[in-house]
């Protein structure tokens, strides 16, 4: 080495000599290091590095034990519903027990990994990276899917394992895309259906089909459009987990899934109260992914119409013949029972009676329901008793049985009525002119909406029995006064019978002889002087001369054809007059009050005389 002594004379003169300052400096440094043990570790490391340079061991990347796969299948047939997690799992080993990461990316580029920290995808979308995972244990990556980018309907994925080496972290260059068809890339995101409109068919009658309509589509296209199902629930309790209505129950469900505008129908129960019912609609696709927003869960409701009630079994007078037992008046207490049924149940939504009334008439059947309507004007005591008549005219009383209606599922209620009939009610037995007829009841029930059913005529008509009944204006025959040997000249005394039953009448007559001491148990003696023989009385239908009438007999009643027509008025019975005459024999010598008893028998006249 050559030095320029001229230029660096100073340096040259001190070169190789230790100055006092340098010595002190060295001493101080030595004391510092000695006292504080400074640089111990650094010096040792330096020693190790110094050793590794001789044993260069490179970190090796983790090795797959189990390739990454979708934890749960996410495929065309089983996509991951949006909002749900897509997850992957894998297991890797790593030398030295260093933990590892599982990272899932959308591209095939190997992830980058910093010296410290988790790896990241090298481009594309990083679907997720696991937490550091102890080697040889399962790592899991999950991310929640959405319906916006970066999630698409189909999403590729590539999974790597990278270790957590502090010096030289590495990723295994071999990626995984699953190990079987059901857990391999890509994963699929199932979008929710779009549900924009919900409606129901107009009100339906019980037992008819009720339909629900929607405007609904599904945005998914891969593998074909998803089909849609509409669930209609009674309550707003649809479970997105089970894709079913909750405890409130299901009204209707789409039976054949469609790709748009799913609908559902159901048949209303045969018995259901007329009302507006809640109906909540829910659209789900074929992967049980429910719509969100729009009309999902809205209450469209449905209406059950009111229908008119019907009349079932009608029993008039318990099936027995109708027998009148009050002459000239009304026989009361005839029973009528009928069942009325309503498809809207026997109890309404307000828990009161659904069937609140009735229109009925009781009539001789050939009169017919047209003539014998239920209006008051149709009333005719002979053959038509309508419920529209005032109770002062016809006192029909009906009561619905308090026990026959057992609840909302029971459509039927039983009514029990009683009614009177006037004595003029037409008989229908074989001797009457109405023998081809019977008496029937025609009943229509009326519901709480004032809907009236069709009148139904009872299937068991009954006979109204003939009731010949007779009454008198006067209870005695007013002969007047006569001397022995004289007669009345003409039959001028009269008796009047009235027909107070329901038949035409003739009158059969017999009578006893007259005497002062007559009684029923003590007939008159055969005495010419004190007994007026029975045949001395004569009678006829007109005031003929004495000896032209019919002789009275105590043994052979004589049928006098009065031909009293059947009474048709309840206040003015038809009547017939009999004319009487008597002759007091000349042999009578005992003066006094003569007593006798004649009997008028009511005889049903020929039907042609009614």
């Amino acid at each position: 080495m050559l030095y320029n002594f001229l230029e660096k004379s100073n340096y040259m003169q001190t070169a190789g000599k230790i100055t006092i300052a340098a010595a002190l400096s060295g001493l101080l440094i030595f004391a510092f290091v000695f006292l504080f043990n400074a640089g111990k570790s650094e010096l040792l490391r330096v020693e190790a590095q110094t050793a590794s340079t001789t044993l260069t061991v490179l970190n090796t990347p983790p090795q797959w034990i189990t390739l990454a796969r979708e934890e749960f299948e996410s495929s065309t047939s089983s996509p991951t519903n949006s909002g749900r997690q897509i997850s992957w799992i894998a297991t890797a080993s790593n030398n030295g027990g260093v933990p590892y990461y599982l990272i899932v990316c959308s591209t095939v580029a190997t992830p980058t990994i910093p010296v410290s920290g988790a790896p990241s995808c090298n481009g594309g979308t990083q679907w997720g990276v696991s937490a550091t995972t102890t080697e040889s244990t399962q790592a899991r990556v999950a991310t929640t899917t959405t319906e916006v980018a970066p999630f698409g309907e189909v999403n590729n994925w590539f999974a790597w394992v990278c270790d957590n080496d502090a010096v030289n972290p590495r990723c295994n260059n071999t990626y995984s895309q699953g190990i079987s068809a059901t857990n391999s890339s890509p994963f699929h995101v199932n979008y929710r259906p779009v549900f924009t409109n919900l409606s129901s068919s107009p009100g339906g009658n019980p037992g008819t089909v009720m339909s629900f309509f929607t405007t609904s589509t599904d945005p998914d296209t891969v593998g074909g459009e998803d089909t849609l199902v509409l669930h209609m629930c009674y309550l707003n309790d649809f479970s997105t987990t089970t894709a079913m209505c909750g405890l409130g129950g299901t009204i209707a469900t789409t039976t054949v899934p469609v790709t748009f505008d799913a609908g559902a129908s159901f048949t209303l129960p045969a018995v259901i109260q007329d009302d507006v019912y809640d109906a909540y609609g829910y659209i789900v696709d074929q992967h049980n992914h429910s719509a969100s927003g729009g009309q999902q869960g809205s209450n469209v409701g449905f209406t059950v119409n009111n229908v008119a009630p019907t009349t079932g079994t009608i029993s008039l007078n318990n099936g027995g013949n109708i027998i009148l037992t009050v002459d000239g008046g009304q026989t009361t207490g005839f029973p009528l029972t009928f069942q009325s049924s309503d498809a809207n149940s026997c109890v309404n939504a307000a828990s009161t009676s659904e069937m609140v009334g009735y229109d009925l008439s009781i009539f001789r059947d050939s009169i017919g329901t047209s003539t014998c309507s239920t209006a008051a004007g149709a009333y005719n005591p002979n053959n038509c008793y309508p419920s529209g008549a005032a109770t002062t005219t016809w006192n029909l009383t009906c009561t619905a049985s308090s026990t026959s209606c057992t609840g909302a599922n029971d459509p039927t209620v039983t009514w029990a009525c009683t009614f009177p009939l006037w004595f003029v009610a037409d008989p229908t037995d074989s001797a009457s002119p109405f023998s081809g007829d019977d008496w029937v009841a025609a009943v229509a029930a009326v519901d709480d909406n004032n809907a009236t059913g069709t009148r139904t005529i009872g299937s068991s008509p009954v006979t109204l029995v003939s009731f010949p009944a007779i009454s008198l204006i006067t209870a005695e025959i007013p002969y007047g006064s006569l001397e022995p040997g004289f007669n009345t000249g003409t039959l001028k005394a009269t008796t009047t019978i009235r027909s107070v039953g329901n038949t035409g009448l003739n009158q059969s007559v017999d009578g006893s002889a007259m005497c002062p001491g007559y009684s029923v148990g003590t007939p008159c003696p055969s005495s010419a002087s004190s007994t007026i023989a029975d045949f001395k009385q004569e009678f006829a239908t007109s005031s003929v001369s004495y000896n032209s009438g019919f002789d009275l007999s105590s043994t052979s009643p004589f049928m006098l054809a009065l031909k009293v027509q059947k009474t048709s008025s309840t206040t003015n019975p038809n009547s017939g007059v009999t004319y009487w005459g008597i002759e007091v024999p000349i042999e009578i010598t005992v003066a006094g009050a003569y007593t006798g008893l004649n009997t008028f028998y009511a005889v049903t006249s020929s039907s042609t005389d009614w």
Partner: protein
């Protein structure tokens, strides 16, 4: 002249007496009637008995009376009997009193029509009538019209029907015991032999009456009703329908004739709702019956065969 004068006095006196009862005539409003006014039967047979009840009706029952009965039917007087006798009390307050006419047709009665009359007369219970007057009592006439025939008439009239709620059927193992519809019928035998409906058919529809769900008919015999009687009888009809409300269209048959048909509501309740027994073995279907009987008969045959063989072996041994 004196004699003539006395006679004139006597006539005046008698005339005054007659005039008295004219003035005492009173207004009578009470009436009397009977229902029905006949005893009629056109299908009597020899040795048969027929009864007809007739109500005696009074308009004013304030006074006690009695009804005197006279039968005027010479040809059949021996056949006819008024059960209550020839004098029937009509007590005070009794507005209607029944009277029963019994007809017993002798075994040698001619086959023909017989007619007659029964007269009913009301008189005061104490036999007393108003003194000095020709009183009027009321009565009525019952026509008798009987025909004895030599042929059987099988006919009836359905007077009333009813159906009660029932439990649905029950499955026990492989056996299904159907529910039992109890269909009551008030039947009047209008013929002259014992009779009951030959069958009762139910066609059960949904409640709207549109869809036929089941057609079924009664099982077992229906109680017969004696001639001229009216009784309520029951038909038991099986149904396999579940609980619900239905409309049933029924038909009651007399052999091939439908005597009555109509519609009834049918309410089938959940099993056990009513404390009523359903159908037993008789309600089972034929296959189910066979499934029970076949093993039993097979077992019996095996037992009999075993017993037979043992006896045979003993005989051989002895």
């Amino acid at each position: 002249m004196q004699k003539s004068s006395r006679f004139l006095y006597f006539r005046r006196t008698l005339g005054l007496c007659l005039l008295f009862f004219i003035l005492s005539a009173e207004i009578a409003r009470a009436g009397f009637g009977i229902t029905p006014p006949y005893v009629r039967n056109t299908s009597l047979t020899r040795n048969s008995t027929y009864e007809q009840q007739i109500l005696l009706v009074r308009g004013n029952p304030d006074d006690p009376q009695k009804a005197q009965i006279v039968i005027d039917a010479p040809e059949i007087i021996d056949w006819i009997e008024v059960v209550e006798g020839s004098s029937i009390p009509l007590p005070r307050g009794s507005q209607k009193v029944p009277m029963t006419v019994r007809v017993k047709v002798p075994k040698d009665a001619d086959f023909k029509n017989y007619k007659g009359i029964i007269r009913i007369k009301t008189v005061p219970d104490d036999d007393q009538v108003a003194a000095g007057a020709v009183s009027i009592s009321l009565g009525a006439q019952v026509d008798i019209d009987l025909t004895v025939i030599d042929r059987e008439i099988k006919d009836f009239r359905v007077r009333k029907i009813g159906v009660s709620d029932l439990n649905e059927g029950k499955k026990l193992g492989w056996l299904y015991f159907p529910g039992k519809i109890k269909f009551s019928m008030l039947i009047e035998n209008t013929g002259n032999v014992d009779i009951s409906p030959s069958r009762v058919v139910f066609r059960i529809f949904d409640f709207a009456g549109n869809v036929l769900l089941e057609e079924t008919e009664n099982k077992g015999k229906i109680t017969k009703i004696e001639p001229y009687a009216t009784n309520e009888i029951m038909a038991e009809i099986p149904t396999k329908l579940p609980a619900g409300n239905y409309i049933a269209r029924y038909a009651i048959y007399n052999d091939d004739d439908i005597k009555q048909e109509g519609e009834v509501s049918l309410s089938v309740l959940k099993y056990g709702t009513l404390q009523e027994a359903g159908f037993g073995f008789s309600g089972l279907s034929v296959p189910h019956k066979i499934s029970i009987l076949l093993p039993i008969f097979s077992l019996l045959i095996v037992i009999l065969y075993y017993v037979y063989n043992r006896r045979l072996a003993r005989r051989r041994a002895s």
